[in-house]
């Protein structure tokens, strides 16, 4: 009886030669992911700092100037200009020269000293909700702190009634790259690996070599596994490079074990390569394969929790997200890299990735027709 993997070694031999023969192909396989990683890593930064701010100080007192200083000292705001009138101030905002406008009306200090509520107007450009929210929070905190200090002074109390002692875990400096970079690795790996296998069988179909394979005693499991293995090796090497960039370029320490990291990556890359193979068995030409791969990449960027937290999404997008291997991988990466989680704490995620990989692989071997029409 013929082995179910008949011809595997032949395909493996050929694929390795084809992949390693051309240094340019290898270069284009490894170089873009690294660039993407660095670019994504730096570009995706939620830390809003030094927002350009326009100030309209109609009070012109020591107190009003100190308030502006307090706001600037938070590093959230940067005074980009002083307006002389309300219309000038709104022009600053409209023209995009300032995200935030602070208007201190005349009599601001007088109201404070008289024990009445002094009003201060802050205008925020809400075009970008992330920036607006941070500006709002900072402005509120600064003024609230000042109000509390004034109240304490007036009542003669020594301390505030409630005080929180926050402690930020896992990413104490609250740096954005720590959150984004593990996700970027997931997305970048998906782009590189899915395309690689999505093209492989389609290319043989286009060239006519597939016919030659189909008249041979090559088994479909042998074909699929032979196509997948070289890219699994390449994918893992690439992942090692990406982890290196994360550790040494972005200076993100890996809290968990490397074994956990690599086990998760292996299962993830296997699932992605199987997905690519499935595309390859369905697509009639390379353009179709490209489009079908893109179809899976965009949802992985948006619904996997890579940028936006999944919890706040409508159920339909959460459901889409739970079908994507990237979702589980990104959660695993953040858990292992940032929180030092162990594999048995994330057994479910590993199981899902493994099931996806084996399921997709079996599906493409079973659905691959050993006929050309």
């Amino acid at each position: 009886m013929k082995s179910p993997f008949h011809g595997f070694n032949a395909i493996l031999y050929k694929e390795f030669i084809v992949v390693l023969r051309d240094p340019l192909t290898l270069f284009f396989m490894f170089f873009p992911p690294l660039i993407e990683m660095v670019a994504f890593g730096y570009a995706l930064d939620n830390d809003v700092k030094h927002m350009s701010t326009v100030v309209l100080d109609e009070d012109r007192t020591v107190e009003s100037r100190r308030l502006v200083e307090d706001l600037v000292n938070t590093q959230t705001f940067r005074v980009a200009g002083e307006a002389e009138s309300l219309s000038e101030m709104s022009a600053f905002m409209r023209q995009g020269k300032a995200y935030v406008a602070i208007q201190i009306p005349p009599g601001f200090t007088r109201e404070i000293h008289a024990g009445r509520t002094a009003r201060l107007q802050v205008l925020i450009d809400g075009s970008s909700s992330t920036i607006a929210l941070q500006a709002l929070n900072t402005a509120l905190t600064v003024t609230l702190r000042q109000s509390v200090a004034t109240l304490l002074q007036q009542t003669g109390r020594k301390s505030v009634p409630v005080e929180i002692r926050p402690q930020v875990l896992y990413n104490p400096a609250m740096r954005s790259p720590n959150f984004f970079v593990p996700g970027v690795i997931g997305v970048v790996l998906q782009i590189a690996t899915t395309f690689a296998t999505a093209m492989s069988i389609v290319r043989e179909r286009e060239r006519g070599t597939l016919e030659q394979l189909l008249v041979s005693p090559l088994s479909r499991w042998g074909l699929m596994l032979g196509k997948l293995t070289p890219y699994l090796v390449i994918g893992m090497t690439m992942a090692a490079g990406l982890f290196g960039v994360m550790r040494f370029v972005f200076d993100i320490p890996i809290a968990g074990s490397l074994t956990a990291l690599y086990t998760s990556t292996l299962l993830y890359v296997f699932a992605l390569l199987s997905l690519g193979l499935l595309i390859s068995t369905r697509a009639q030409n390379q353009i179709q394969a490209l489009q079908m791969s893109m179809m899976f990449i965009l949802p992985s960027v948006f619904f996997s929790g890579f940028i936006f937290p999944r919890e706040t999404m409508p159920w339909i997008f959460q459901a889409i997200g739970s079908c994507l291997p990237t979702t589980y991988f990104i959660e695993l990466m953040r858990a292992i890299i940032l929180r030092g989680a162990s594999l048995d704490e994330f057994g479910f995620h590993l199981m899902v990735l493994a099931a996806m990989g084996v399921g997709l692989f079996a599906l493409c071997a079973l659905r691959f027709r050993q006929k050309i029409a």
Binding site: G7, Y13, K14, T209, L213, V215, S216, K371, I372
Partner: protein, 329 residues
């Protein structure tokens, strides 16, 4: 497995190697192959002829198990091409139209790949590889990338690759398309050699001179098999040699001018240019003198006339016309 697929040329028990019975393939509304039946005996060279798009490649692909027939059945050495595809795979070799090779692999690597694909390894692989290299004279090109070979050498490599497992039946889909005449002749020499060893060859071609070399020919036109048989028998068919006619070869100067003149003569059934001469199908009663006179009137003083037999081309033309008339076209 009850039927163990033999992997050598020895099929003594099976004299009919390829058999098609009303083999049919439809793609949607279009019938690519319409109830084609024929059989090919062991050791014969079967030439399968027909214009582009007539269904030649479709027949080959069905016989190789690449396409599912819509109707009818076919067997290779007694194995059904649909139900026993796996048994057939070790029996057949297939050289497709495009000489599908891996361009980025060298000649040597292509050979290694195909040897491994058919399960060869170690010393068996080395021996078989050496045999194939000496058979196809690929020795000087072993380290060259397949993509950089010329047509003739690509064809040799493709042939070597399709022979690694010593198939009993070799299918060649237009093996000589785009190949120089020397390579073409060398390929045919090889094919005769294989045939002598007992291998059955199934060759599609456009070239009539190649058809003349085959031991058996089949002609497919508009998806239907028009005729099938031994070339000499086909040439003796009554439809090819209508009663009361004869075939003449007329060699003269300005043969196209001559042809137009001759076509005007009553009693000329068919006239066509053949290189420096023309081939005529005329009434038995027509004398050589009538032809000479007509040519002289057209300004051609000298002509060399002698009787000839029909060519395979004449056979196919006659049969296609007969079929067209028969269906009222």
């Amino acid at each position: 497995m009850t039927k163990e697929a033999p992997s050598t040329f020895a099929f003594a028990r099976c004299e009919v190697m390829i058999e098609c019975d009303k083999l049919t393939k439809r793609f949607g509304q279009f019938t690519a192959v319409d109830q084609v039946s024929f059989s090919v005996a062991r050791g014969s060279i079967f030439g399968f002829l027909g214009p582009n798009g007539s269904g030649k490649s479709t027949v080959i692909r069905m016989l190789c198990g690449l396409l599912q027939p819509t109707g009818g059945r076919a067997t290779i050495a007694g194995f059904d091409v649909v139900k026993e595809t796996e048994s057939i795979k070790s029996l057949i070799g297939y050289m497709s139209q495009k000489f599908s090779l891996y361009d980025e692999l060298t000649v040597s690597e292509n050979l290694n790949f195909y040897c491994r694909l058919y399960g060869l390894s170690g010393s068996v692989l080395a021996t078989r590889r050496a045999e194939l290299i000496s058979l196809t004279h690929l020795e000087p090109y072993l380290e060259r990338r397949a993509g950089l070979l010329s047509g003739g050498w690509r064809q040799r490599l493709a042939m070597a690759c399709s022979l690694v497992h010593k198939p009993g039946v070799l299918f060649l889909d237009e093996p000589t398309a785009g190949i120089d005449p020397v390579a073409r002749r060398e390929l045919w020499d090889l094919l005769f050699e294989f045939s002598g060893l007992g291998m059955t060859l199934f060759v599609t071609t456009h070239y009539m001179d190649e058809a003349e070399r085959c031991s058996h020919v089949g002609y497919i036109h508009l998806s239907k098999l028009v005729v099938c048989g031994v070339p000499d028998e086909l040439k003796a068919l009554p439809v090819v040699n209508p009663p009361g006619t004869k075939r003449l070869d007329v060699t003269c100067d300005r043969v196209t001018t001559g042809l137009q003149a001759i076509r005007r003569l009553p009693g000329v059934r068919n006239a066509t240019v053949f290189g420096q001469s023309m081939h005529l199908l005329v009434e038995q009663t027509m004398s050589e003198e009538t032809i000479r006179t007509e040519l002289a009137r057209a300004g051609i003083p000298r002509a060399d006339i002698h009787p000839i037999g029909p060519s395979l081309e004449d056979v196919f033309v006659a049969l296609t016309q007969q079929r067209a008339n028969g269906t009222g076209k």
